[in-house]
């Protein structure tokens, strides 16, 4: 049986933990709203871009000179996995879920004898992957120093990836991130970005028999469009990740706050019992002392 003083100290420490988790939960809730808005605001661009790409790739499909970003290198020997996670913890299993999905993919690919390379975006994913696959990480970055993630940051990552692609360092690139479904569900997702796959459900517009005109020409447009497509997909993944992280953090902190509350109740009960027991004990001592006289 712990002493009264010990119990009191424990209650105090759990109370301050509860204050912290409560504050973190409210911060996450506020950030979530902003992140969700940013993710929503970026959607039209990505959707329009997919439309344009679907339209162009339909035209370029039979072209033997189609850019390699669209057609691929004709091999899938070297696979690049871009794992985007958060920089901070305290968000439940959010980071671990993304890492687990990536790890399963690594194991599957290595079993097929493929070469796997890793790019880590975000500190938490890197921490977890470094232990097992430290030698596979070819490049890493994080946004610890960056206040708000804009398109510029996505573009930097895209440029790095494209540079590696041009140097022939990999054949297929897949992006891992947590897709933001809603506040209670964030789904770890893998998406192939190189070679670009025309997304499902987007059809080239019906031209009613008219002929599409391109300026300067199809290939030139594809050449500028595809690198941007990669950047846009990365940007979208980053925004989804931020929203997911905040949502996961909010849920995790809500649970933590509730647990702390329950623990405080339990400890308070124990404390009161111990106090009562002590009073009773003292009374018995006094009474038996008086009776002995």
């Amino acid at each position: 049986m712990p002493s009264l003083k010990e119990l009191k100290n424990r209650i105090g420490s759990v109370k301050s933990t509860k204050k912290i988790t409560k504050a973190k939960q409210m911060v996450a809730a506020a950030k979530l709203r902003r992140a969700e808005e940013a993710a929503k605001a970026a959607r039209p661009y990505a959707v329009e871009m997919e439309g344009v790409l679907a339209n162009l790739s339909a035209a370029a499909k039979d072209n033997p000179n189609a850019p390699r970003l669209l057609a691929g290198t004709g091999s899938d020997e070297t696979q690049l996995l871009i794992v985007a996670t958060a920089d901070k913890g305290l968000c439940g299993a959010f980071n671990s879920n993304i890492v687990r999905l990536a790890r399963e993919r690594i194991v599957a690919l290595q079993a097929q004898g493929k070469i796997v390379k890793l790019v880590c975006v975000g500190r938490k994913g890197e921490d977890q992957l470094r232990r097992l696959y430290g030698d596979l990480i070819v490049w890493k970055t994080n946004f610890v120093e960056t206040k708000s993630i804009g398109f510029h940051e996505a573009q930097e990552i895209a440029e790095k990836v494209l540079e590696m692609f041009r140097a022939g360092e990999f054949d297929v690139a897949t992006l891992f991130y947590g897709e933001f479904k809603n506040v209670v569900s964030q789904v770890p997702t893998a998406q192939q970005i190189i070679p670009a796959e025309a997304p499902d459900g987007v059809e080239a517009p019906d031209l009613k028999g008219a002929i599409y005109d391109y300026e300067p020409d199809e290939e030139e447009i594809l050449r500028t469009l595809l690198p941007r497509y990669v950047a846009v997909q990365i940007f979208r993944a980053l925004l989804e990740n931020i929203a997911s992280e905040q949502a996961a953090s909010m849920t995790a902190m809500d649970n933590a706050t509730r647990n702390a509350g329950e623990l405080i109740d339990k400890l308070t009960l124990q404390y009161n019992r111990a106090r009562q027991a002590q009073i009773t004990k003292e009374l018995i001592e006094i009474i038996s002392g008086a009776e002995a006289l």
Binding site: E48, V52, N55, Y214, E215, F235
Partner: protein
């Protein structure tokens, strides 16, 4: 005029315009072109410049920094790399950015790549200033 042209302007960060208009002038990389309702399907890359949107005698001007314009029977979609309403531009901010770019171009110790990029940005900013 028969009908209106549905015009969408999106930048990676957000959607700026989505409405029915009379005419849009787009700064294509091979020259400015106007788009009227029922334009033939057409796709072009864009040079940095100003998109003019005409609607019922009103004119809106939006600075874009490269991107794509896509004309389909459904309307015109502009995918801009960066887009700002000309009315929202701040002259002082612009002058400041031009100055910092000029400094970067003049910096002899910087990497040639960085200087090149700064020079390109400087050209775009000058263009933007001229459009004010």
């Amino acid at each position: 005029m028969a009908g209106k042209l549905h015009f969408n302007l999106v930048s990676p960060e957000r959607q700026l315009v989505s409405e029915d208009v009379d005419q849009v002038d787009v700064p294509g990389s091979e020259g400015v072109f106007g788009v009227l309702p029922n334009h033939a399907p057409f796709m072009s890359t864009m040079a940095p410049g100003v998109v003019r949107v005409l609607n019922g005698g009103e004119e809106k001007r939006i600075f874009v920094r490269g991107g794509f314009a896509d004309v389909t029977p459904a309307g015109l979609t502009v995918l801009a790399e960066e887009a700002v309403f000309v009315a929202d531009l701040d002259r002082e901010e612009l002058a400041r950015r031009i100055k910092s770019c000029e400094a970067a171009v003049a910096d002899d110790e910087a990497q040639p790549e960085t200087r090149q990029r700064a020079a390109a940005e400087l050209g775009q900013l000058k263009e933007l200033e001229a459009s004010l």
